[in-house]
Symmetry: C2
Subunit: 768 residues, 2 copies
């Protein structure tokens, strides 16, 4: 734990007292978003201290020219960067001629910041004494509307406490924006025009290269003690800037406030020529509704999300705060309504990692969205990959594959690869497996087979083709081997026969064959279309099968475990416990070669396979592998603790499971990885949800039914969660001695609890 200034609270993230050293971390932690846009918790007024400014629009990115030390054939020309967008939140405040700036005040008292997760708003209040000795009380409240997702609203108030004052609010919009993360210091935005109409201002700007057209807009109203003022503002404009000024003499203890509405219209939703008129419509709706009613609507909208997605934890405020923080940010990032969007690793909270889509989506996020939203949401995430299939085939062609084999990119925005380290881009190919697995997982959970004949089977065929070609026959071993890969544990590069990769390759082929047969039998017309398009033949499938049936797996007879890769046992097998702690984290202390030849594991690798394919191994096998690999695992990926928490719970090691749970759920709140100022770890937040539902709750889908093996950490009195299973809502409440199952739905549901069949019905809760 590296930060602990966040005040524990069940429903809010709270900070009290102003510390400039916390500003960047808080800007990340208090970020707000509504799926369509998001922003770091930057101050509205000027701030001259260290800050990391960030506003982001979903789907708007920039193809930054790739930077490499040494070019390798097949590298992508560009890296898709998350783009810092024009800002609409700014309100310069001048009090008797002095600008309000928390970094330059004489004193700041009663500073308080709150991210109210229950209701979806951010607030801030403080009392500041300026250099001119005027003391003012300031408060602001801000949110990005879930209902009107192009609009955000701010209520910013100021009250002079020790004298009358002349106060100016200068709300502005600014498109003179740069990225911190840029390879070549390129300019990313091209401002097209700045226009004003009455009290509204608009800046039209497009991104360079990708030519995303956007309109950033604002309109404000000012009040004294709640009474609307009608004085006309003055207007200032620059080439990429527009501002209104509202100046008023304010009496001591009067409250001068401004309601500012702003946001973006973008050409994903409107035609380029109608961005301003769309903006006007949005502003009109916001103004008509008014700040107060919009905030009410916001609370309602979040209440609906929480009703389904909330997890309660009784008796452990920090754990409760942690899980809600994770669920809240996931929902701020992606709401699932758009199949062209995805879940970026930093969401709307920072620029790092570029791209928007990693295998995190399939491996970690889909279970969360499947269980807490309508199935359409998970289907959209699958459709996203289906829409990128053609580009994945092109990507594989660049690497020498043929016949419609697909390799999905490691990182992407639009389906094209944007990563460029050969050991990752070209070799971390197990990502293909996660994409097939997500199809299987979706079908298993939702029972919605229709996705497979409609879209999924084409993806499965292209992935099976890849594995078939990527494996080669070793005469030496009389088996098929997969050489030169990087597994989920990125602390090994270019290894041979990574067990996880080989296993998922075999699984992908077998699953593709199974689905081919099922579609052929049950959806002959779809099969005809697909086989016409893919030119799949019986001979080809037989060739795949030969590879799957003869896959090689490194195994240790001595330890009775599958080996992470060929040669793993040649390493110096010192456990993490016995490693000098001054050497941690090894990714900051050691050179890359040293990391590679060490036995240390960044995140679940062999154990990731045991997580995905749990049914195919006994608990004893899981235990043996867990005991063999976990001691070498440094968990230096945010994606590591959750899988281990789930497995520790399954092995009834609740203390260990609880420790992993805390680490995953408060990763950012407590800044375990020394990097929260750069933004939050959004995708791993879904892993936290899995730790509770799959880990402690022991939820699985078996034979078309939900199955639970509830456990509870001794630190908790109880916890509860809901899952949407095939359009019925099951609520699970676990206490130290009993578990209650409730059903919101219209028909009885058979579930399994600790291996026994239980029937729950809408009227009767069941306690076990």
């Amino acid at each position: 734990m590296n930060l602990d200034y966040i005040i524990p609270n069940k429903w809010s993230i709270l900070e009290e007292g102003f510390d400039p050293d916390h500003v960047k971390a808080s800007e990340s932690l208090f970020s707000i978003g509504n799926g369509a846009m998001g922003q770091r918790a930057n101050f509205e007024e000027k701030y001259s201290g260290p800050t990391f400014q960030g506003s982001y629009i979903a789907g708007v990115y920039y193809p930054d020219k790739t930077k490499v030390g040494w070019w390798k054939n097949g590298y992508p020309e560009y890296f898709a960067k998350v783009l810092n967008a024009p800002s609409w939140i700014g309100i310069n405040v001048t009090i008797n001629g002095e600008e309000l700036d928390l970094f330059a005040c004489k004193s700041v008292k009663n500073f308080r910041r709150e991210l109210n997760m229950k209701e979806g708003w951010l607030s801030r209040s403080f009392v500041a004494t300026l250099q001119n000795d005027i003391e003012v009380e300031v408060s602001s409240k801000r949110f990005l509307s879930l209902d009107l997702d192009e609009v955000g609203a701010i209520n910013f108030s100021i009250k002079p406490l020790n004298s009358d004052a002349e106060i100016t609010f200068q709300p502005y919009i600014d498109a003179g924006i740069t990225n911190e993360d840029t390879n070549w210091d390129d300019k990313f935005w091209d401002v097209l025009n700045v226009t004003r109409e009455n009290n509204q201002a608009f800046i039209q700007a497009k991104t360079m290269k990708t030519e995303f057209h956007t309109c950033t807009f604002m309109e404000s109203q000012v009040y004294v003690d709640g009474e609307l003022l009608s004085n006309e503002p003055t207007f200032t404009e620059g080439t990429s800037y527009a501002a209104f000024s509202y100046t008023n003499k304010v009496k001591q203890n009067e409250t001068y406030s401004i309601h500012k509405f702003g946001g973006y219209t973008v050409d994903r939703n409107h035609s380029k020529n109608e961005l301003i008129s769309a903006a006007k419509k949005s502003l009109e709706k916001a103004k008509t509704t008014g700040f107060t009613q919009m905030l009410e609507d916001q609370k309602q909208a979040w209440a609906q999300i929480w009703d389904m997605a909330d997890i309660t934890i009784d008796g452990d405020v920090k754990a409760q705060q942690g899980i809600r923080f994770n669920i809240f940010h996931l929902n701020q990032t992606y709401l699932g309504t758009d199949a062209t969007l995805n879940i970026g690793p930093k969401g709307f909270t920072g620029e790092k990692y570029g791209g928007s889509t990693y295998w995190d989506t399939e491996a970690y996020c889909i279970p969360f969205y499947m269980a807490t939203k309508d199935q359409e949401v998970a289907r959209n995430l699958l459709t996203y990959r289906y829409n990128h299939l053609e580009k994945a085939i092109e990507n594989a062609e660049k690497l020498g594959f043929t016949n419609g084999a697909a390799l999905y990119p490691m990182v992407t925005m639009n389906g094209e690869e944007s990563h460029n380290e050969w050991e990752i881009t070209f070799e971390e190919i197990h990502r293909n497996g996660a994409i097939a697995y997500a199809i299987f997982n979706y079908y298993r959970y939702t029972g919605d087979f229709s996705y497979i004949p409609e879209m999924g089977l084409e993806v499965l065929i292209a992935i099976a083709r890849f594995w078939h070609q990527r494996a080669n026959y070793s005469t030496q071993k009389n088996k098929y081997v997969i050489l030169g890969v990087t597994g989920p544990n990125e602390y090994e590069n270019n290894v041979n026969n990574n067990w996880y990769t080989n296993y998922i390759a075999e699984w992908c082929i077998n699953y593709a064959i199974e689905m081919i047969d099922k579609v052929k039998a049950g959806h002959p017309n779809d099969y005809k279309r697909i086989s016409g398009k893919t030119k799949i033949t019986h001979e080809e499938v037989s060739a795949w099968k030969k590879v799957a049936d003869n896959m090689y797996y490194p195994y240790s007879e001595e330890h009775k475990v599958y080996l992470q890769q060929d040669g793993f046992l040649d390493k110096e097998l010192i456990t993490v416990e016995d490693l000098d702690q001054s050497q941690r984290p090894i990714n900051q202390k050691w050179s890359w070669d040293r990391i590679l030849r060490s036995p240390y594991i960044k995140q679940a690798d062999t154990l990731q396979g045991f997580y995905f394919f749990e049914d195919q191994f006994t608990t004893e096998e899981l235990e043996r592998h867990f005991d063999f690999y976990e001691p070498f695992t440094v968990h230096e990926s945010s994606l590591s603790p959750c899988v281990h928490s789930i497995q520790a719970a399954k092995l009834n090691r609740m203390n260990q499971a609880y420790t992993f749970y805390l680490r995953t759920s408060r990763l950012d709140l407590d800044d375990y990885n020394h990097e929260v100022h750069e933004g939050l770890h959004i995708t791993s937040m879904a892993g936290t949800w899995m730790s509770i539902v799959e880990g402690f709750g022991g939820m699985r889908v078996k034979n078309d039914s939900l199955s639970f093996e509830p456990r509870i950490p001794e630190q908790w009195k109880g916890y509860s969660f809901k899952v949407n299973f095939r359009n019925q809502i099951v609520k699970v409440s676990v206490k130290q001695n009993e578990t209650q199952f409730e059903l919101e739905g219209d028909k009885e549901l058979q579930i399994m609890v600790n291996g026994k069949e239980v029937t729950i019905s809408p009227d009767n809760s069941v306690v076990i």
Copy 2:
């Protein structure tokens, strides 16, 4: 072969006819150098067509800020770039107001370019018709003086053929120079001042960051029909530019010529404040000697070099031209008088690869310099590494090594690493072995043991320490293993137990121990100093020995060969012959992962070990390994064919040896690798020399004696070479039926020929 416009000639490189498409290639091929400076064969007069301008000063480099895609701990902050230096060769020529520019003339006839390797000069002549219809005959001759190594001289003449003409020569010096190879488009030179004194001009400039101070200078004289003119030139200067203009009315068929002397003084040889006065002295010497006499001196100086270094080939002009081209360029690049300089991979012919020193020096260049120069030269090359020992220890510390272990850099200028690909920088550690091997090789060849107690032993100890720490014990194998390396075959990265690396590691430890014992016994005072400094103990040496004695080697019982690395036999073993030729060269056609998992070998790897340690294997073993590995070798490194040529010769496969020989000796002349425009492959040129002397001549040192097993390709009538063996010169002349041995020296010499002892003496040549 991709270019064949160079006219075969025994002593010259010749080009006839002007083709703008050949300009860049010829600029490389006709490059001149004198060890202290060098330059591409750029034209003196303006040339508006495609050209790659380059002038280089030995030891002057720039630490260009490293460019990486993803930073890894331990990467160097900068990459030492070969620096394009201010130019002194330029002479603008104006004829009746029109600038002479071969790319803009109406016609060019009788174009001829010659690099006279025997005498060490470059000439060019042509007849051009300008747009103004004046026809002129132009000739130039240029050389960089071996005697006055700060000075070069140009004789540039022009004769109007069809009318009188007003002609201006405008000789200039220019420090407004940029690099083509720059990571961030930085400016590398900072011009301090431009000064004129009478007919001399000077530009003082220093490199940014490294602050190498240089003075570029010139002085010229003009003549009509050989008669010195005394008219005063006009002077023009800019912030980084100085020019004189000499304008004269020249009658039809009169020859107007200019002798221009120019060059550099640098602060490696003079104090910073005396660069101009040193330049004046150099100019004074050059002017006093005069162009004609300087050229005479140049011929003499080159005659001396050739007397020792020449290899003659009778009956094969292209082979003759090839070998002399290689020997000539090696001598232009490095003359061995300065232990702070080394042999850059492109010498003074281009910018690529940066740095100046790779393991090429120890593995390929030292044998050439040992045999064709005084032993002091090879000793200087060894001393260069001794002087960098401290930085090699620091480099190893950055990678986690302790106790004075050294890892020499992959690429360096000043001893610091300047390479940044983890798989090379951190893992291609066999380079340490080549540095130890060069010490062994030097002692074996020269018999000069003194280097070892004076300097070599410290290097050997630091290298042995590295290997001891780098290996780890595998309980699985009950042996020591070396994990995560890149061998000489860079088409494999991060492999385990590269046989060559393991072998040379063991050898380094054993050789260090042997030398410790020898120094301890024979030079107790030196040993005392060294052991005091290195704190070497008996216990430490025992620990080394344990590693050396228990080193693991991958071996195939089936093929009876050592395996290049663990898992080599799992590859798809299709030979190069059976590989679709459209896929070649694979480094241009395939993505990196595909190269890595293929069996294809870039350059000798296991066979490099068989080359270095030939005595430790039987000819049958060599044959088995050659037959196993060569068929998978694509020879896509310039360093590949020579080792294979030597081994093919040893195996009596003369046709194959000859094919490899042609490929290495005419690599650049025939542009096998499509890249001669970027500069020449200087270090591999020493491999060509080895192909003849060690390959065809079969020269080895065995038991302190020279040994020969002469062979001759059927395409040749005969060949001859000389070697300096311990201050006696042995000349070997091989014909189809006999070999003659002659001795220049003062005492009898025992040599071995085809395994039999032969005595040669200064008076009596021996024919066998």
